[in-house]
Amino acid sequence: MLLKGQSFSIGQRLFDELHHSGWGVSSTGLTDEQKEFQKVAFDFAANEMAPHMAEWDQNEIFPVETMRKAAQLGFGGIYVRPEVGGSGLSRLDTSIIFEALSTGCTSTTAYISIHNMCAWMIDTFGSNELREKFCPDLCSMEKFASYCLTEPGSGSDAASLLTSAKLQGDHYVLNGSKAFISGGGDTDVYVVMCRTGGKGPKGISCVVVEKGTPGLSFGKKEKKVGWNSQPTRAVIFEDCAVPVTNRLGSEGQGFNIAMKGLNGGRINIASCSLGAAHASVLLARDHISVRKQFGETLSNSQFLQFKLAEMATRLVASRLLVRQAALALQEDRPDAVSLCSMAKLFATDECFSICNQALQMHGGYGYLKDYAVQQFVRDIRVHQILEGTNEVMRMIIARDLLTES
């Protein structure tokens, strides 16, 4: 049973603001149940995350205990099936939850979303044995997961990955390395895309590798501009033997599984951007309502009023697109992949711009780490890059448009 603390920090005030802001309020159009989910997520973000987000960032702390508390509430496997410990909710429910959590700490919420994506992949494509072996621990966050696709030589060109998995008896022997792996080194379960067959996407399979497997090692912890509450490391395989039974789906299905995971992952990352942007707009609004120059508060400046209005409008537009994409994905509509790409592209770009403008509105104070807005800016900058760069999003959308005939 998880109890709420009392917190009167910037986080609590932020939470109160978020709850009571009249415009584009993020609970419009939600069912009663979704509003309840959102409320729990907002409460948790304000009480358990916001008071610590600066410390986690500055001291590079991976907040295991806090994430396990979140898992107790059901946030560890939000769209994983209940029979293996998940919450069995929809993609839209998930988006709402991550958006709310992100207002407390964007970096930590983003990691939680990656963890959720991995848990879903195992739940959806794993054998019953694998599901039962891994999903309950992942849903409770007894164990943490990482998604391993990117390599030093293959980022956007993911299908050209080189990590090999040679079949030897009843094991695959993995050789190669993955780069920029979120949680790498601190997590327990690695969902790894590797080459079992020939070139291109059809030669790729997906296997689950547990920490402690001989031949699995990690690079140094990367020093990043943001996302500092999650460690990022290279994941190295040297004759690392993994049971064939740890494969998700069939041989050659790995790339497909990876992309399906990312469709949801893109909505989740976009949702994290929404939360950061919303928080930043409120911080900016508060600041300009108080800060005086030239004899009056900055909020009397028409330029800043118009700027704020534009920020709010673009935030609402982003949110609508993200939620539509979530609906399309959960209904398995043919336009889902395209919509998810559009949502990720649009929302991450717009929200970064919003957070950046919010920082600008703070003037010099916006540049100080005592003020939260800079952390939102730093944390969401990478959302335009990972889970498929925004350039790759354009490739996906263009291909979809040009194939239509």
């Binding site: 049973m1 998880l2 109890l3 709420k4 603390g5 009392q6 109160d16 709850h19 009571h20 009249g22 009663d32 149940e33 509003k35 309840e36 989910f37 409320k39 729990v40 409460d43 948790f44 107790q72 509430l73 059901g74 946030f75 939000i78 209940p82 919450s87 069995g88 909710l89 939850i97």
Partner: protein
Amino acid sequence: MAARVLVGVKRVIDYAVKIRVKPDNTGVVTDGVKHSMNPFCEIAVEEAVRLKEKKLVKEVVAVSCGPQQVQETIRTALAMGADRGIHVEVSGKDYDSLGPLQVSKILAALAKKEEASLIILGKQAIDDDCNQTGQMTAALLDWPQGTFASEVAVEGDKLKVIREVDGGLETIKINLPAVVTADLRLNTPRYATLPNIMKAKKKKITNVKPGDLGVDLTSRLEVLRVDEPPQRQAGVKVETVEDLVGKLKEAGRI
């Protein structure tokens, strides 16, 4: 030992909202304003659910009086662990004038109907700050009351209640059935979990009319006027201690 606990939950304007008085001074603006469960009622629900988890009570029933929207509040109680809910339908002018006297009559009637042996309420609501409903309910039922509880323990067929009073803490022992009102330090309410929110959807909420309980909703109070508190006046700076003393004497403070 109590088999069934009734917990009253009130839907109030959220504690963090800036309250605005209506232009006609008849009340405060409630339309489109964020509402939530009264914080003391949350504490009451938490206590009831803990008693159930300790297997000291069998069933927790959440009750709320008001229009359709109070069902949200009952659902929150269900998501926290209450077993079922009762929505006492009161709307329009009756709802505007609903106060502790009528609510306590409703709760007393429900306690008899549901054969409850314990009622837990918040000590007061943050909108009217009446701090009367628990006491009135106990009086109507002729049950003992443990108000401002910061600790509740079941001891056989009695309750030990530690009360927060002006002079400190008072410990009393009362027979069941009884009414307890929750104070701030009684417990820290839990977060609803996602699975519990979903399970709450399947829990039953029954609708009841005050008339069915034989309760007359006529208010004995008439609100004449609602005003904002007076604006805070600017202070005065003084140069010396003598000035300060002089000004305090002028203002009749010393």
